[in-house]
Protein backbone atom coordinates (compact mmCIF):
# COMPACT_ATOMS: atom_id res chain seq x y z
CA UNK A 1 0.00 0.00 0.00
CA UNK A 2 2.58 2.57 -1.12
CA UNK A 3 -0.42 4.64 -2.21
CA UNK A 4 -0.75 5.79 1.41
CA UNK A 5 2.80 7.18 1.32
CA UNK A 6 2.02 8.78 -2.03
CA UNK A 7 -1.19 10.32 -0.71
CA UNK A 8 0.70 11.79 2.27
CA UNK A 9 3.34 13.12 -0.11
CA UNK A 10 0.61 14.61 -2.31
CA UNK A 11 -0.97 16.28 0.72
CA UNK A 12 2.42 17.74 1.68
CA UNK A 13 2.91 19.12 -1.84
CA UNK A 14 -0.58 20.68 -1.78
CA UNK A 15 0.02 22.28 1.62
CA UNK A 16 3.35 23.73 0.46
CA UNK A 17 1.74 25.13 -2.67
CA UNK A 18 -1.23 26.71 -0.89
CA UNK A 19 0.86 27.93 2.02
CA UNK A 20 -1.33 30.04 4.31
CA UNK A 21 -3.96 30.91 1.70
CA UNK A 22 -7.50 30.83 3.07
CA UNK A 23 -8.94 28.36 0.60
CA UNK A 24 -10.45 24.93 0.52
CA UNK A 25 -9.35 22.36 -2.01
CA UNK A 26 -12.10 21.26 -4.36
CA UNK A 27 -10.24 19.03 -6.78
CA UNK A 28 -6.73 17.73 -7.32
CA UNK A 29 -5.52 16.20 -10.54
CA UNK A 30 -2.51 13.94 -10.92
CA UNK A 31 -1.19 11.97 -13.84
CA UNK A 32 0.63 8.67 -13.47
CA UNK A 33 2.43 6.54 -16.00
CA UNK A 34 0.81 3.15 -16.58
CA UNK A 35 4.08 1.40 -15.66
CA UNK A 36 4.53 3.25 -12.36
CA UNK A 37 2.65 0.67 -10.31
CA UNK A 38 0.04 3.06 -8.91
CA UNK A 39 -3.52 1.80 -8.47
CA UNK A 40 -5.76 4.88 -9.04
CA UNK A 41 -8.55 3.54 -6.82
CA UNK A 42 -6.11 2.86 -3.95
CA UNK A 43 -4.61 6.34 -4.36
CA UNK A 44 -8.08 7.94 -4.28
CA UNK A 45 -8.98 5.93 -1.16
CA UNK A 46 -5.73 6.85 0.62
CA UNK A 47 -6.09 10.50 -0.42
CA UNK A 48 -9.63 10.63 1.02
CA UNK A 49 -8.25 9.33 4.32
CA UNK A 50 -5.28 11.73 4.59
CA UNK A 51 -7.53 14.69 3.65
CA UNK A 52 -9.91 14.14 6.55
CA UNK A 53 -9.98 17.17 8.83
CA UNK A 54 -7.78 19.25 6.50
CA UNK A 55 -8.74 21.99 4.07
CA UNK A 56 -8.77 19.32 1.37
CA UNK A 57 -11.43 17.27 3.22
CA UNK A 58 -13.80 15.90 0.61
CA UNK A 59 -11.68 17.04 -2.35
CA UNK A 60 -12.01 15.00 -5.49
CA UNK A 61 -8.84 13.34 -6.78
CA UNK A 62 -8.69 12.87 -10.51
CA UNK A 63 -6.07 10.38 -11.69
CA UNK A 64 -5.16 10.35 -15.38
CA UNK A 65 -3.16 7.39 -16.61
CA UNK A 66 -0.53 8.13 -19.26
CA UNK A 67 0.48 5.38 -21.67
CA UNK A 68 4.01 4.03 -21.17
CA UNK A 69 6.58 3.59 -23.94
CA UNK A 70 9.17 0.86 -24.37
CA UNK A 71 11.81 -0.03 -26.93
CA UNK A 72 11.70 -3.68 -27.97
CA UNK A 73 14.90 -5.52 -27.00
CA UNK A 74 14.74 -7.62 -30.20
CA UNK A 75 13.53 -5.47 -33.10
CA UNK A 76 14.04 -1.98 -31.64
CA UNK A 77 10.48 -0.78 -32.33
CA UNK A 78 9.24 1.86 -29.89
CA UNK A 79 5.69 1.10 -28.77
CA UNK A 80 3.07 2.38 -26.32
CA UNK A 81 1.13 0.32 -23.80
CA UNK A 82 -1.40 0.85 -21.02
CA UNK A 83 -0.15 -1.58 -18.40
CA UNK A 84 2.83 -2.40 -16.15
CA UNK A 85 4.49 -4.21 -19.02
CA UNK A 86 3.90 -4.23 -22.78
CA UNK A 87 4.37 -6.54 -25.73
CA UNK A 88 6.09 -5.48 -28.97
CA UNK A 89 3.48 -5.15 -31.74
CA UNK A 90 6.20 -5.96 -34.30
CA UNK A 91 7.70 -9.24 -33.09
CA UNK A 92 5.59 -10.14 -30.06
CA UNK A 93 8.49 -9.95 -27.59
CA UNK A 94 7.45 -9.10 -24.05
CA UNK A 95 8.83 -6.12 -22.15
CA UNK A 96 11.81 -4.15 -23.42
CA UNK A 97 13.54 -1.04 -22.20
CA UNK A 98 11.11 1.35 -20.53
CA UNK A 99 11.47 4.85 -22.05
CA UNK A 100 8.63 6.55 -20.16
CA UNK A 101 5.65 5.58 -18.08
CA UNK A 102 6.88 5.58 -14.49
CA UNK A 103 6.12 9.25 -13.85
CA UNK A 104 3.82 10.53 -11.09
CA UNK A 105 2.95 14.21 -11.45
CA UNK A 106 0.75 16.62 -9.49
CA UNK A 107 -0.89 18.63 -12.30
CA UNK A 108 -3.42 21.05 -10.82
CA UNK A 109 -5.15 22.02 -7.61
CA UNK A 110 -8.62 23.59 -7.87
CA UNK A 111 -9.43 25.77 -4.87
CA UNK A 112 -12.35 27.85 -3.67
CA UNK A 113 -12.21 30.77 -1.24
CA UNK A 114 -13.65 30.12 2.19
Amino acid sequence: MHELSLARDLMGAIERKLDRGKVRVVRVSVSVGSAAGIVPESLRFAFRVVCEGTRADGAELSVTTIAARSRCADCGIIFEFDALIGRCPGCGRLGGELLSGDEMILRTIAVADV
Binding site: S5, D9, A36, G37, A73, G96, L106, I109
Partner: protein, 234 residues
Amino acid sequence: MCDTCGCGISSVRTIDVNERLLASNAAQAEQNRAHFAEREILAINLMGTPGAGKTALLEAIIAKWRESRRILVIEGDQATDRDSARIRAAGAIACQVETGLGCHLAAHQIHDALHHLDLRDGDLLFIENVGNLVCPALFDLGERLRVVVTSPAEGADKPLKYPPMFRAAHLVVLNKCDLIPHVPFKLDEWTDYVRAITPHARILKTSALGGEGLGELLAEIDNVRQAFSANIFA
Protein backbone atom coordinates in the same frame (compact mmCIF):
# COMPACT_ATOMS: atom_id res chain seq x y z
CA MET B 1 -19.97 29.23 -13.79
CA CYS B 2 -18.79 27.08 -10.92
CA ASP B 3 -17.21 23.96 -12.43
CA THR B 4 -17.87 21.84 -9.35
CA CYS B 5 -21.66 21.79 -9.24
CA GLY B 6 -22.75 24.37 -11.77
CA CYS B 7 -24.10 26.65 -9.02
CA GLY B 8 -23.15 29.83 -10.79
CA ILE B 9 -20.64 31.03 -8.20
CA SER B 10 -17.34 31.48 -10.00
CA SER B 11 -15.15 31.12 -6.96
CA VAL B 12 -13.24 27.99 -7.99
CA ARG B 13 -9.86 28.62 -9.57
CA THR B 14 -7.28 26.17 -10.78
CA ILE B 15 -3.60 26.37 -9.84
CA ASP B 16 -1.16 24.75 -12.23
CA VAL B 17 1.53 22.84 -10.33
CA ASN B 18 3.16 20.22 -12.59
CA GLU B 19 5.50 18.86 -9.92
CA ARG B 20 6.70 15.30 -9.57
CA LEU B 21 5.30 13.35 -6.65
CA LEU B 22 7.77 12.01 -4.09
CA ALA B 23 9.90 15.09 -4.79
CA SER B 24 10.71 15.40 -1.08
CA ASN B 25 11.82 11.75 -0.94
CA ALA B 26 13.94 12.33 -4.06
CA ALA B 27 15.53 15.43 -2.49
CA GLN B 28 16.36 13.54 0.72
CA ALA B 29 17.72 10.62 -1.34
CA GLU B 30 20.01 13.00 -3.24
CA GLN B 31 21.22 14.41 0.06
CA ASN B 32 21.96 10.88 1.31
CA ARG B 33 23.75 10.07 -1.97
CA ALA B 34 25.91 13.19 -1.75
CA HIS B 35 26.78 12.33 1.86
CA PHE B 36 27.78 8.78 0.86
CA ALA B 37 29.85 10.02 -2.11
CA GLU B 38 31.66 12.58 0.03
CA ARG B 39 32.70 9.84 2.45
CA GLU B 40 33.23 7.18 -0.21
CA ILE B 41 30.61 4.94 1.35
CA LEU B 42 29.07 2.42 -1.03
CA ALA B 43 25.36 2.12 -0.18
CA ILE B 44 23.45 -0.91 -1.43
CA ASN B 45 19.66 -1.20 -1.32
CA LEU B 46 18.76 -4.86 -0.91
CA MET B 47 15.17 -5.55 -1.87
CA GLY B 48 13.18 -8.70 -2.52
CA THR B 49 10.56 -11.15 -1.39
CA PRO B 50 10.15 -11.97 2.30
CA GLY B 51 12.00 -15.25 2.75
CA ALA B 52 14.20 -14.97 -0.36
CA GLY B 53 17.24 -15.02 1.92
CA LYS B 54 18.29 -11.35 2.02
CA THR B 55 19.48 -11.56 5.61
CA ALA B 56 21.16 -14.94 5.02
CA LEU B 57 23.03 -13.42 2.05
CA LEU B 58 24.17 -10.56 4.27
CA GLU B 59 25.36 -13.04 6.89
CA ALA B 60 27.33 -14.89 4.20
CA ILE B 61 28.86 -11.64 2.88
CA ILE B 62 29.78 -10.53 6.41
CA ALA B 63 31.40 -13.92 7.12
CA LYS B 64 33.66 -13.45 4.07
CA TRP B 65 34.52 -9.80 4.61
CA ARG B 66 34.32 -9.03 8.32
CA GLU B 67 38.12 -9.21 8.78
CA SER B 68 38.90 -6.97 5.82
CA ARG B 69 36.25 -4.24 5.82
CA ARG B 70 33.75 -2.39 7.93
CA ILE B 71 30.19 -3.39 7.12
CA LEU B 72 27.10 -1.58 8.40
CA VAL B 73 23.53 -2.71 7.88
CA ILE B 74 20.28 -0.77 8.19
CA GLU B 75 17.57 -3.39 8.69
CA GLY B 76 14.01 -2.53 7.66
CA ASP B 77 11.18 -4.71 8.92
CA GLN B 78 7.59 -4.06 9.88
CA ALA B 79 8.30 -5.38 13.36
CA THR B 80 10.99 -6.86 15.62
CA ASP B 81 14.77 -6.44 15.76
CA ARG B 82 15.43 -10.09 14.93
CA ASP B 83 17.34 -9.32 11.74
CA SER B 84 19.61 -6.69 13.27
CA ALA B 85 20.40 -9.22 16.03
CA ARG B 86 21.39 -11.74 13.32
CA ILE B 87 23.61 -9.14 11.62
CA ARG B 88 25.35 -8.28 14.90
CA ALA B 89 25.86 -11.97 15.65
CA ALA B 90 27.46 -12.34 12.21
CA GLY B 91 29.95 -9.61 13.10
CA ALA B 92 28.70 -6.36 11.51
CA ILE B 93 27.19 -3.16 12.87
CA ALA B 94 23.41 -2.95 12.59
CA CYS B 95 20.60 -0.48 13.08
CA GLN B 96 16.99 -1.66 13.05
CA VAL B 97 14.22 0.44 11.53
CA GLU B 98 10.77 -0.85 12.44
CA THR B 99 8.40 0.58 9.85
CA GLY B 100 5.15 -0.33 11.66
CA LEU B 101 2.40 0.15 9.08
CA GLY B 102 4.97 1.18 6.45
CA CYS B 103 5.59 -1.33 3.68
CA HIS B 104 8.92 0.11 2.52
CA LEU B 105 11.83 2.27 3.66
CA ALA B 106 11.94 5.94 2.68
CA ALA B 107 14.96 8.23 2.29
CA HIS B 108 14.31 10.17 5.51
CA GLN B 109 14.39 6.90 7.51
CA ILE B 110 17.88 6.23 6.14
CA HIS B 111 18.95 9.74 7.10
CA ASP B 112 17.57 9.20 10.63
CA ALA B 113 19.23 5.77 10.92
CA LEU B 114 22.61 7.28 9.96
CA HIS B 115 22.48 9.29 13.19
CA HIS B 116 22.50 6.00 15.10
CA LEU B 117 25.42 4.51 13.18
CA ASP B 118 29.11 5.21 13.64
CA LEU B 119 29.72 5.72 9.93
CA ARG B 120 33.33 6.04 8.78
CA ASP B 121 34.88 6.93 5.45
CA GLY B 122 35.07 3.98 3.08
CA ASP B 123 32.42 1.88 4.87
CA LEU B 124 30.20 -0.57 3.06
CA LEU B 125 26.54 0.12 3.90
CA PHE B 126 23.77 -2.37 3.17
CA ILE B 127 20.15 -1.30 3.50
CA GLU B 128 17.93 -4.35 3.80
CA ASN B 129 14.53 -3.10 2.72
CA VAL B 130 11.20 -4.45 3.95
CA GLY B 131 10.53 -7.79 2.22
CA ASN B 132 8.05 -6.76 -0.46
CA LEU B 133 8.15 -6.88 -4.26
CA VAL B 134 5.92 -3.82 -4.73
CA CYS B 135 6.40 -0.68 -2.66
CA PRO B 136 10.20 -0.39 -2.12
CA ALA B 137 10.67 -0.06 -5.91
CA LEU B 138 9.23 3.47 -5.81
CA PHE B 139 11.45 4.92 -3.10
CA ASP B 140 14.98 6.05 -3.87
CA LEU B 141 17.07 5.87 -0.69
CA GLY B 142 20.24 7.44 -2.07
CA GLU B 143 21.87 4.10 -2.78
CA ARG B 144 24.44 3.45 -5.48
CA LEU B 145 23.41 -0.14 -6.19
CA ARG B 146 19.94 -1.69 -6.14
CA VAL B 147 19.83 -5.46 -5.72
CA VAL B 148 16.66 -7.55 -5.99
CA VAL B 149 16.73 -11.00 -4.37
CA THR B 150 14.28 -13.74 -5.27
CA SER B 151 14.30 -17.54 -4.97
CA PRO B 152 13.19 -20.58 -7.03
CA ALA B 153 10.32 -21.72 -4.81
CA GLU B 154 8.54 -18.43 -5.58
CA GLY B 155 8.13 -19.50 -9.22
CA ALA B 156 9.71 -18.38 -12.48
CA ASP B 157 7.12 -15.74 -13.30
CA LYS B 158 7.78 -13.32 -10.43
CA PRO B 159 9.49 -10.78 -12.75
CA LEU B 160 6.34 -10.62 -14.92
CA LYS B 161 4.08 -10.20 -11.93
CA TYR B 162 6.16 -7.42 -10.32
CA PRO B 163 7.72 -5.46 -13.20
CA PRO B 164 8.54 -2.16 -11.39
CA MET B 165 10.65 -4.00 -8.80
CA PHE B 166 12.72 -5.91 -11.36
CA ARG B 167 12.94 -2.80 -13.56
CA ALA B 168 14.49 -0.93 -10.61
CA ALA B 169 17.26 -3.49 -10.16
CA HIS B 170 20.88 -3.09 -11.23
CA LEU B 171 21.54 -6.64 -10.08
CA VAL B 172 19.04 -9.50 -9.80
CA VAL B 173 20.04 -12.37 -7.52
CA LEU B 174 18.40 -15.80 -7.63
CA ASN B 175 19.20 -17.05 -4.15
CA LYS B 176 18.67 -20.62 -2.87
CA CYS B 177 19.76 -21.80 -6.34
CA ASP B 178 20.46 -25.24 -4.82
CA LEU B 179 16.66 -25.64 -4.64
CA ILE B 180 16.28 -25.55 -8.44
CA PRO B 181 16.30 -29.38 -8.90
CA HIS B 182 13.70 -29.81 -6.16
CA VAL B 183 10.97 -27.34 -7.12
CA PRO B 184 8.99 -26.71 -10.32
CA PHE B 185 11.15 -23.85 -11.55
CA LYS B 186 12.61 -23.39 -15.03
CA LEU B 187 15.77 -21.29 -14.90
CA ASP B 188 15.63 -20.40 -18.64
CA GLU B 189 12.08 -19.19 -18.33
CA TRP B 190 12.94 -17.05 -15.27
CA THR B 191 16.00 -15.58 -17.00
CA ASP B 192 13.90 -14.69 -20.08
CA TYR B 193 11.36 -12.94 -17.89
CA VAL B 194 14.03 -10.97 -16.02
CA ARG B 195 15.58 -9.97 -19.37
CA ALA B 196 12.14 -8.93 -20.70
CA ILE B 197 11.68 -6.53 -17.81
CA THR B 198 15.23 -5.30 -17.45
CA PRO B 199 17.46 -5.92 -20.49
CA HIS B 200 20.61 -4.52 -18.84
CA ALA B 201 20.61 -5.73 -15.21
CA ARG B 202 23.26 -8.24 -14.10
CA ILE B 203 21.91 -11.64 -13.08
CA LEU B 204 23.56 -13.92 -10.51
CA LYS B 205 22.68 -17.25 -8.91
CA THR B 206 23.67 -17.76 -5.29
CA SER B 207 23.13 -20.04 -2.37
CA ALA B 208 23.64 -18.14 0.88
CA LEU B 209 23.74 -21.41 2.83
CA GLY B 210 25.62 -23.63 0.34
CA GLY B 211 28.05 -20.92 -0.77
CA GLU B 212 27.47 -21.23 -4.52
CA GLY B 213 27.86 -17.96 -6.43
CA LEU B 214 28.99 -15.97 -3.39
CA GLY B 215 32.40 -15.30 -4.97
CA GLU B 216 30.69 -13.78 -8.02
CA LEU B 217 28.44 -11.67 -5.82
CA LEU B 218 31.40 -10.33 -3.84
CA ALA B 219 33.29 -9.63 -7.10
CA GLU B 220 30.25 -7.78 -8.45
CA ILE B 221 30.06 -5.60 -5.34
CA ASP B 222 33.82 -4.96 -5.59
CA ASN B 223 33.44 -3.92 -9.25
CA VAL B 224 30.74 -1.43 -8.34
CA ARG B 225 32.87 -0.18 -5.45
CA GLN B 226 35.85 0.40 -7.77
CA ALA B 227 33.75 2.16 -10.39
CA PHE B 228 32.21 4.25 -7.59
CA SER B 229 35.62 5.28 -6.19
CA ALA B 230 36.98 6.00 -9.67
CA ASN B 231 33.94 8.15 -10.33
CA ILE B 232 34.36 10.12 -7.10
CA PHE B 233 38.00 10.92 -7.82
CA ALA B 234 37.53 11.53 -11.56
